[in-house]
């Protein structure tokens, strides 16, 4: 099997799947050319992520990574969500094939992009260094 059972479970039964009309923040990362785009919606109350939704264009591991990331940040303080690493997503998924690791990076960056949107919309000061994005996509041509 290409994927772990955990990946297949999150791919077949994604958690928190869908869009959100009244989201407090939205983050989107990725590129159609590379073949994966993730969009994460957050509902935030008193700095706690009370609800989260996502939609993803991409392969099995991209959908599973988004699903896992949303599950890991739901109910958590915004500052904690910001600490979510791609490594933690991979571990929670019980591993990803080497050439699919960038999907977990995308999930981490989607969460960060959503938090950044929340900070921007609410005039909350933040350390810009925290949101420095590496090359999201491995295509290397944009």
């Amino acid at each position: 099997m290409l994927y772990s059972e955990k990946v297949m479970d999150h791919f077949r039964n994604p958690r928190n799947l869908g869009t959100m009309e009244d989201a407090d923040a939205v983050g989107e990362v990725g590129n159609a050319k590379c073949g994966d785009i993730m969009r994460i919606y957050l509902k935030i109350k008193d700095d706690i992520i009370t609800d989260v939704k996502f939609i993803t264009f991409g392969c099995g591991s991209a959908i599973a990574s988004s699903s896992m990331a949303t599950e890991m940040i739901k109910g958590k303080p915004v500052s904690e969500a910001l600490q979510l690493s791609n490594k933690a997503v991979v571990e929670a998924l019980e591993g990803l094939p080497a050439h699919k690791l960038h999907c977990s990076v995308l999930a981490e960056e989607a969460v960060k992009a959503a938090v950044k949107d929340y900070y921007d919309k609410n005039g909350i000061a933040y350390d810009k260094e925290q949101f420095k994005q590496g090359p999201t996509c491995a295509c290397g041509d944009h």
Partner: protein, 399 residues
């Protein structure tokens, strides 16, 4: 859960072995195990079998048995054809090769290797319909061109190239001609005489034969360059004790395929056309490759706004085994070079689906696929940010 039937529509990847091929192989595994190079009766029994198989295969390809070289498969045959032709060209100071942008990597990667050795390579455009234009080939041939290599039929989009015209042009201009016929042999008529080919590559497992065995046809009088040294097998051109069971299986499979070529093709064509008709109702979809000059069993489509690997995994859950040219399934970062070469943008090429049929498929299976694919496409579009943007008019549809 109810018992799910498996629908195998990935026959361009590989096929199930036919009973005739299995039956032909079995005696040569345990009973007639001799080495054909041995002089004793056990060895000679094996040698006789190979002689028979070689003659059978030659008859199917319209050539003589002496022009058949057994290889480990299509890739090896392609490699040896190109490297042999390059060596011949080099001796005459001709270091230009013409091929196409949609060849299999067995050809493209070998050409890349030759480029590093100082050869110049021109890749012909395959246009939007996936077909090369003979007049463009004629115009590309130069005094220093030693070889033209054009695949008989494409493995992804199924387009059948104007091989006889290409062969005629090569003959007129005195240039050697190789055709990678891995997807064609056993499915459509292939004659090396009509093609006027100097080299041809085929692979047994694409027509219900065993894996790990193929043929390089090389026209009489053409000196081959060895890839493997070490023995007198294959008239000294391919060392290594012959894989007799596989050779016997290949010959049986090819004979069966050639004997039933027309009826199998007609059956597959009907299923192919029904699939294309049924799946084309999906909005923002497109059929890749020419509709007419197309392998009888090939369907290749793109669905906008979705990614191919997810599509394959969900179809697999529904019992449908297919393939895609998306980057994620190709194991590289780019989608299929064939889909890009026929002008599809990356984001569309990612959403490709290839269904490749065999005569063992049924119309009932086609109807199941026609029901299943739109459901999966609709689900994946519903969860795709690209599709949402397209629907909301934030992006323009490409197809």
């Amino acid at each position: 859960m109810t018992e799910q039937k498996l629908i195998y529509v990935d026959n361009s990847a590989t096929t199930k072995m036919s009973q005739a091929a299995v039956d032909a192989m079995l005696p040569y595994l345990a009973e007639f195990y001799g080495n054909p190079s041995s002089l004793h009766s056990v060895g000679q029994r094996a040698a006789e079998a190979i002689t028979l198989a070689r003659a059978q295969i030659a008859a199917c390809l319209d050539c003589t048995p002496q022009e058949i070289y057994f290889t480990s498969g299509g890739s090896e045959a392609d490699n040896q054809a190109l490297l042999s032709a390059a060596m011949i060209g080099e001796r005459k100071g001709k270091k230009h090769i013409i091929s196409t942008a949609i060849e299999h990597h067995a050809v493209l990667h070998t050409l890349r290797r030759l480029q590093k050795q100082g050869f110049e390579v021109t890749l012909l455009d395959a246009h939007q319909d996936g077909l090369v234009r003979p007049e463009e080939l004629a115009a590309a041939i130069r005094p220093d061109t030693c070889l033209v290599s054009v695949m008989f039929a494409n493995n992804e989009i199924g387009t059948i190239q104007p091989i006889e015209e290409i062969g005629r042009i090569c003959k007129e201009k005195g240039v050697m001609f190789h055709t990678d016929a891995v997807q064609a042999v056993g499915h459509i008529p292939v004659s090396v005489q009509k093609a006027q080919a100097d080299f041809l590559a085929l692979s047994a497992h694409k027509f219900h034969g065993p894996k790990g065995i193929g043929v390089l046809y090389a026209k009489k009088g053409i000196p081959l360059t060895n890839l493997i040294e070490g023995g007198a097998q294959e008239r000294g051109k391919r060392a290594g004790t012959e894989n007799i069971p596989a050779i016997m299986g290949m010959a049986a499979a090819l004979k069966e395929a050639c004997d039933h070529l027309d009826e199998n093709a007609a059956k597959m064509r009907a299923m192919r056309d029904r699939l294309i008709e049924g799946l084309s109702v999906i909005p923002h979809s497109t059929v890749n490759g020419d509709h007419v000059k197309r392998l009888p069993g090939n369907v290749n489509m793109c669905f906008e706004g979705i990614e191919g690997e997810s599509l394959l995994l969900l179809l697999d859950d529904k019992g449908i085994c297919a393939s895609s040219g998306s980057a994620c399934t190709s194991g590289s970062l780019d989608p299929s070079h064939v889909l890009l070469a026929i002008g599809l943008p990356h984001e569309v090429a990612h959403g490709s689906l290839r269904l490749s049929l065999s005569e063992e498929n049924t119309m009932e299976e086609m109807e199941y696929i026609i029901k299943a694919v739109p459901e999966v496409v609709a689900y994946l579009r519903a969860i795709s940010p690209i599709w949402h943007d397209l629907e909301e008019g934030k992006k323009n549809h490409v197809i």
